[in-house]
Subunit: 325 residues, 2 copies
Amino acid sequence: MGDNIFVGIDIGGTTAKIGLVNDKGKILEKEVVHTLSSRDWREIIDEFLKPVDKWFGKNVKFKGIGIGAPGFINKKSGILFNCENIPGLINAPFVDYIKDRYKLPVMADNDATCAAIGEHIFGAGKDFTDFLMVTVGTGIGGGLILNDKVYRGMDGYAGELGHIIVVAEGRECTCGNKGCIEPYASATSIVKRIRDGIKKGYIKSYNDVDSKSIDAKLVFEKAIAGDLHSIDAIESAARYLGRLLGGIVNLLNLQAIIIGGGIAASGDYYIEKIKFYCSQVAWYSFTKDLKIVPAKLLNDAGIIGAASLILEEEKEKNILKRSVL
Amino acid sequence: MGDNIFVGIDIGGTTAKIGLVNDKGKILEKEVVHTLSSRDWREIIDEFLKPVDKWFGKNVKFKGIGIGAPGFINKKSGILFNCENIPGLINAPFVDYIKDRYKLPVMADNDATCAAIGEHIFGAGKDFTDFLMVTVGTGIGGGLILNDKVYRGMDGYAGELGHIIVVAEGRECTCGNKGCIEPYASATSIVKRIRDGIKKGYIKSYNDVDSKSIDAKLVFEKAIAGDLHSIDAIESAARYLGRLLGGIVNLLNLQAIIIGGGIAASGDYYIEKIKFYCSQVAWYSFTKDLKIVPAKLLNDAGIIGAASLILEEEKEKNILKRSVL
């Protein structure tokens, strides 16, 4: 298999995807395991490591293990918190635990930051030095590449987009605050707007479908087919997110914004609306060359992104060497 | 005078301050010249260069010339635009012109970015690697230090805070857009709120002063003395700015925010309010160690900041060398 093999672990609330990734961004092996609801973090982590143990036993040589998780990971301690989906992992020193087990470099980061690094090395961000990755799905996440490398901020939490306030005293958010972008522009919020309308009785264009099967994909299909309520739900979400992104473009003079997460698969229809509202509020000089594009690493973004943590670190060291020699 | 002398040129709409600065951030010589209203950019620049010519004639050896200007300066071409105050300089290639004249390194940047670099090397930002400098005066400007160096973005325009939308379809802004932070939180906006109240008749607490002498400093004095209208005007400005800064803290996980410009001199009263509203909307983990502090280089921030452009460039080269050797 060659020497440049990395392990990527993409931790989610119900399952984790674990893969072997080469330095071309190709997944060589992949397994899906359950995220245990245990309160003992070692049990949860040991379950994720079963495929790794197996590959390790077969004498596959890895260069390192990267882990992406939903929550904030402190860049110095490797400790995870604000991870409501997997309470057992909160405050767990699992990075050191895995390092000790395999005697290899191990890094962990927020899943949206991993996605940004993955897109930077292998995906839609290859040609950009300064971009924001936005993941729009159940929630809204973000990761930043600035000056051609990942930007983490003081503790490692940078890119936290979902809870920026867009409406003072606005809609309730799951985080406890009011008016965050998440309840205005997540895929969940788009679906909620439709469900609320059905409940109130004024939306009848979903009468042909079972209420349980309504998801963002369906709302996009209906919008593209001309349903005014679906167009309105997406327009509203894109207006809030596009305008927030316009503000960020003014602040960071970005080259590109990459839209990932479930919603990215909806393609041009959504991207065009985001572009419209972003350009409406940012300076023209900041948006005239700005690219807003969908992510490329769709299904496997998590594994590749996590493995990319180790690759990014190696790349960074090489750039530093080259720039002086 | 030693060898490490830099020229700083701080361009303003009515005057420019030109100084000789040493590598300890001390101003050795200083002159103020008028900003000509000429349409010929060479005439305007030649006026700024008169003190420099004089010093140069006396055989003072400079290591370089830094220029701060109100507007966007393209980092590749050195060309200035969006500089409504000095239309004669728009699109002028003055960086190359000055380089040719003295055969020395010449750099130009936005004045708030210069202020950020100056505070980073000599002022309130010395101990921070990731901070935002916000200048609050007639307008609102900003500059970013990320990963211990200035962050400029794709074209060099990063840090443009004043025209981030905080209220959709809100107050008219001088930029032509609606709802930017500037008409909600600049010193000008605080004074306007008081003047509007006086005009409408409901503010009587300024009856003892001549309308022309009302400035932000006076509004702060009245607020501290307990005048409810003045408290309200400052509270409103701080609420909008503090909440915007909270969003930026979520995005960039900053170590510090440095408040500069005319309003910084108003001290703790204002800073405490900004802290309150910033903490209200940002994640607790992002604000618990965040420092919000006033700028240190008050009157001379412009000259020192401009001179610091050259120093920052040298520092950057040295760090790169040291990190590999």
